[in-house]
């Protein structure tokens, strides 16, 4: 049973002649980690903004638990590429921010925020200031903040795009652990092919002009990592490499068509 459903979604910027997204249909069920992969201009950020409710589709329907999505809401948590944390609050207050907005008492939200910080391996960072954190730490705070509000789905907008390669791999592994432990459905967009193949239970490949889905794949590498297999073993598995090359070829052929 799909939790989040997109039915024949199209989107267009005001004044533009070409749509950014055309006829997109998607399902996101519980236990799923859906990754949208595509080059720039393929409309993946627009797709996330539609689901988050920041913009409205020009055609089609988005529903969460059967209820049409209208505007941003706490049931669709978002992790941004640039942390978007509040520097005037410390780490603990940032993580508890969603609960504060919901009117949860300070004591309760601090308990919850500490749990979430422990979940992202930042226990003891409570009173750090945001500007004292590294890029990876900020993204973990962003993830903890989104999870603390207990959303129905977690939307991630190129969350590791601004990190260095080493930190990015660590964050991917952390995300898989968190995903397994919280059982939250995740919708993540990225332009990093290896990241997409490693994380996704379901991968959609977007092509530009206008943004459309050109391929759907069901994968299990992320689940294998979550079940305890080592990341290096998975990424050097011939099947992983084959899948990665297949996707890479698809992306390149699309780019040649569009160029």
């Amino acid at each position: 049973m799909a939790l989040l459903q997109l039915e024949r979604i199209s989107a267009q910027y005001p004044g533009a002649t070409e749509p950014v997204l055309s006829d997109i249909s998607l399902d996101l069920g519980p236990q799923q980690l859906l990754v949208a992969l595509g080059p720039s201009g393929s409309g993946k950020t627009s797709l996330l903004n539609l689901i988050a409710g920041f913009v409205e589709p020009s055609a089609g329907r988005i529903t969460l638990d059967g209820v049409p999505v209208k505007g941003p809401s706490a049931e669709r948590g978002v992790v941004f590429q640039d942390d978007a944390l509040l520097p005037w609050q410390d780490v603990l207050a940032n993580v508890g921010f969603g609960l504060e907005l919901a009117g949860v008492s300070k004591a309760q939200r601090e308990v919850r925020a500490r749990e979430m910080l422990a979940l992202v391996d930042l226990a003891g960072f409570d009173s750090r200031r945001i500007w004292q954190l590294s890029g990876g730490q900020k993204q973990r705070v962003g993830l903890a903040r989104a999870l603390a509000a207990d959303p129905r789905v977690l939307l991630m907008d190129e969350p590791f795009g601004a990190l260095d390669a080493f930190t990015r791999e660590q964050m991917q592994e952390l995300l898989l652990q968190v995903w397994r432990r919280t059982a939250k459905p995740v919708f993540l967009i990225t332009h990093d092919i290896e990241e997409a193949v490693f994380l996704a239970t379901d991968l959609i490949l977007l092509a530009p002009n206008p943004g459309q889905i050109v391929e759907r794949l069901s994968l299990d590498f992320g689940q294998r990592y979550a079940a305890g297999e080592s990341a290096r073993a998975i990424k050097s598995d011939p099947r992983f490499i084959e899948t990665r090359e297949h996707v890479l070829g698809k992306v390149f052929s699309q780019r040649q068509v569009s160029a």
């Binding site: 941003p72 706490a74 942390d83 944390l85 520097p87 200031r129 590294s134 890029g135």
Partner: protein, 278 residues
């Protein structure tokens, strides 16, 4: 976006002082030496009699007069009474200005309609020198305290409102979206995201406003007052009591300097994240 790893303890980050400590110290020394040199020149030209005391009394005379003013007073009031009269006027003006200009600035920065209504009004009166509309205020409100406070208020209001509107308009859209996707209502957005984001700009507006307000106040007291630093200087000038004039000017300058320094310290304390990479 920075991704530097800081082995943070409890110490404040050193990013506050972009200029190395040694250089900022030496700049301070140069300023101090300049001041000392000015004092020596002042003392030299008066002690040798190049300039008569009527035009420029020696530093020692001004200092003595300062003591006399502080203890027995001038024009029925001690220096402290003049000072507190001026300070309470600017305090009241500033208080009302902050209470009204910040909401107005938020309205201008966040609502198209409010901007359409208020922006031209503020831009119309802001460039007018306050002393140009002082006569009108005197006609309307008399020469009492209200006129002076109102004049200060108007002088401080515009810079704070404009700075607040700028701060509101430059709020990071990602922070707004983040708060919205955590369920923030419009009022919560203002309270938790917009206002703190705009705080550095608001404080800059207050700094500019206080500078303008202070000079306006002193000028206003020159025209219609029975107490205050401006009044003290003006009435002393009429009787050619030059040492009181010089003293008054020095006190006025010192207060302005102290307000600027105090606000900078407040800015550092209230918005420690300002200027930090985040």
């Amino acid at each position: 976006m920075s991704s530097y790893e800081l082995p943070v303890t409890t110490a404040k980050p050193a990013a506050h002082a972009p200029i190395p400590v040694r250089r900022s110290l030496s700049t301070r020394w140069i300023s101090l030496l300049t001041l000392v040199a000015l004092l020596i020149i002042w003392w030299a030209v008066t002690a040798t009699g190049v300039i008569e005391p009527l035009f420029l009394p020696p530093p020692s005379a001004v200092l003595q007069k300062g003591w006399l003013l502080a203890t027995t007073g001038y024009m029925d009031s001690t220096l402290w009474q003049h000072l507190s009269a001026s300070l309470s006027r600017i305090g009241l003006g500033l208080g009302f200005a902050v209470l009204t200009a910040v909401p107005v600035g938020i309205a201008i920065g966040s609502s198209r309609i409010a901007r359409g209504i208020l922006d031209p009004l503020i831009e119309f009166y802001r460039p007018i020198p306050p002393l140009a509309y002082l006569p009108l205020i005197v006609i309307w409100c008399g020469i009492g305290e209200l006129s002076k406070v109102l004049l200060i208020y108007l002088a401080i209001f515009a810079p704070i409102a404009i700075a607040t509107a700028t701060g509101v308009r430059t709020v990071d859209p990602a922070k707004l979206r983040a708060a919205q996707s955590l369920g923030a209502t419009r009022a919560q957005l203002i309270r938790h995201v917009i206002l703190p984001s705009a705080l550095p700009d608001i404080l800059t507006g207050v700094r500019i406003g206080l500078g303008v307000g202070w000079s306006t106040l002193v000028a206003a007291e020159l025209i219609a007052a029975t107490s205050g630093l401006g009044f003290m200087v003006q009435s002393a000038a009429q009787f050619l009591v030059t040492d009181v004039v010089v003293l008054g000017i020095l006190v006025i300058a010192l207060i302005a300097f102290a307000m600027e320094m105090g606000l900078r310290a407040l800015q550092r304390k209230l918005v420690p994240w300002h200027g930090q990479a985040h």
